[in-house]
Amino acid sequence: MTTRRDERLNFIDHLARWITWPRFIFAVTLIFFLTSILFPFYWMVSSSFKSYAEIGGRRPAYIPASLRLDAYRQLFDPNAPVSRTSSYENFGRNIINSIKVAVPTSLIAVILSTLGAYAVARLHFRGKELLLNSILIVYLFPGILLIIPLFAMVSQIGARIGFEVQDNLAVLVITYLAQTLPVALYMLANYFRTIPAEIEQAGLIDGCSRVEVIWRITLPLAIPALVSVAIYTFMIAWNEFLYALVFLNSREMFTMPIKINVIFNDPTPRPHVVMAASTIMTLPVVILFLALERFLEEGLTAGGVKG
């Protein structure tokens, strides 16, 4: 008995000695930050596993009784029971649409911005500074300002040439390129500048052409930057809301953000389904980010994620 009490006293003594005011404030602030950041994410994932009864009850269920997949069934299973509080959402289609938009945007943005960034970093030409500065300023332009003229322009061109403007994923890809290219170019140009020009000159002296030098020497060295640009442009296209909202009309063509918005605004609220869809949309982004954090953090400060 006595020894245990001594130990406890010792522990408290120890704690009292360890805790100083700065340490205490530090710990409290850290805990405050972590809970306010993590709680919404916990709430998103846990709500997605709740049943309709748990979601609509008089009290929120802090921990779902079991890992129920009701919400996910409504998203993916065509045979899920249909009632006022549940209906089949065919969410797989929306995931595919999002991929169909995000992957081409990312690939084309990487290719085009690699070409442009190489020129900006290595070659001398008149108007370079002007070009670079205007592209940077363009990046600070709001999407909402451009959406009206873009909508009018694309309708006009569509009527002339005869293609459908609404529900056309290719139109979306092109508008996303306009949003992502400036920052992609900027990030890549900065990276190319860190690769010593001597390496390329050695290649040129050895008889490689400019294109061969780029392909065999510069690009392999720039792979980290290429990967991070690819992921950022992918994320911008994956998350984009406004342009998709304006250009997409039919449920079949919705990308994930628009579909989630529609489910949320359903007359019968189904938060667990919204949270399940949000979880599906968030997971790949967060996992990609955690896996490649080292490459990506630098890009964040360069404005990789606009907004």
Binding site: L123, I144, S155, L185, T282, V285, F289
Partner: protein, 319 residues
């Protein structure tokens, strides 16, 4: 005659084939696709938008915009007199004033919290790496997901978590509709902005913090400075420039932001800002002229911020 005409040609040819010219041509060829897309889809539309703002453009003449009737300053007059735009009373600010209040207070709060987070992560402790990664979550996650999680947390029904917690603590008697209460809605939107975007400020500030010369602190120690003195006289002056840059960048982006407020409140309950109002004019009432006029007013304010940004931050970068 024929001979003299041929004289300039070789020199022109030589210039065309000179190494410098070849390099410049290659450079332009490489930049061209990017430049075309960016200018065709950003610069041209921006100019076209000015044109639309002086014309009457609706859904029916959208396919034939160039023959839209000239409206003079009518669109601007309508926007200025619109109930949603104009300042009415202290309860009803209108989009222009709300925009300014919202973007300034959200930016200040974002930078402040970013500064605290950066100071927190600047001291060594166990699990710092993973903490730092977690701190970036709100910024990396898709806006639609986080906005709807917040709405679900702030849900007005008794099943909303915040309602439940505050009721258990006896701070409120009845469930509250947080996002549909004037004043409170704006405050929550501002807090949401700070929650989502502080990681950007944090990263920028942290990078600068870690570059501060350690000898400055040693010198301060020798002079007998305490923690607060060191922060106030050493850290803060060293951070002055990066704080300014982050503030301006965030101010511009917050001012432009459409998604956040549209998803959280739809622009209702005293949170209507210029981007959301532009959307409502153009794609709810399909009056594109009015929408463009509203966007032009937004642009005018934005240009002021941009000029400050370019003349301070961009110039400093070049130095």
């Amino acid at each position: 005659m024929a001979a003299s005409a041929q004289v300039p040609q070789p020199s022109l040819r030589r210039r065309w084939y000179s190494l410098q010219a070849r390099e410049a041509r290659l450079a332009w060829m490489l930049v061209l696709p990017t430049a075309l897309i960016v200018f065709g889809l950003v610069v041209f539309p921006a100019i076209f938008s000015i044109w639309i703002s002086f014309h009457e453009v609706g859904l029916k003449n959208l396919n034939d915009v160039f023959h839209a009737p000239f409206a003079g300053l009518n669109n601007y007059r309508y926007v200025f007199n619109d109930f949603a735009f104009k300042f009415h009373s202290l309860q009803d600010w209108g989009a222009a004033v709300t925009s300014i209040v919202y973007s300034f207070s959200a930016t200040i709060l974002t930078v402040l919290i970013g500064l605290i987070a950066a100071l927190l992560l600047n001291r060594p402790f166990r699990a710092r790496g993973i903490t730092r990664a977690i701190f970036l979550f709100p910024y990396v996650a898709p806006i639609v997901s986080v906005a709807f999680v917040w709405r679900w947390i702030l849900d007005p029904r008794p099943s909303g978590v915040l309602n439940d917690i505050l009721m258990r603590l006896h701070l409120i008697q009845l469930p509250q509709a947080y996002l549909s209460t004037r004043g409170l809605a704006l405050l929550l939107v501002i807090i949401f902005e700070a929650w989502r975007y502080f990681p950007f400020a944090m990263l920028m500030i942290l990078a600068r913090l870690q570059a501060i010369d350690k000898t400055l602190y040693e010198a301060a120690d020798v002079d007998g400075a305490n923690t607060w003195h060191k922060f106030w006289y050493v850290t803060l002056p060293e951070l002055r420039y990066v704080l300014g840059a982050v503030f301006l960048l965030r101010l511009i982006w917050t001012f432009n932001k459409f998604d956040d407020i549209f998803l959280l409140t739809g622009g209702g309950f005293g949170t209507n800002v210029l981007p959301v109002l532009t959307y409502q004019f153009s794609f709810k009432s399909y009056n594109f002229g009015k929408g463009a006029a509203n966007a032009m007013i937004l642009l005018l304010i934005l240009v002021v911020f941009l000029v400050i940004y370019v003349s301070t931050v961009m110039r400093n970068v070049e130095e």
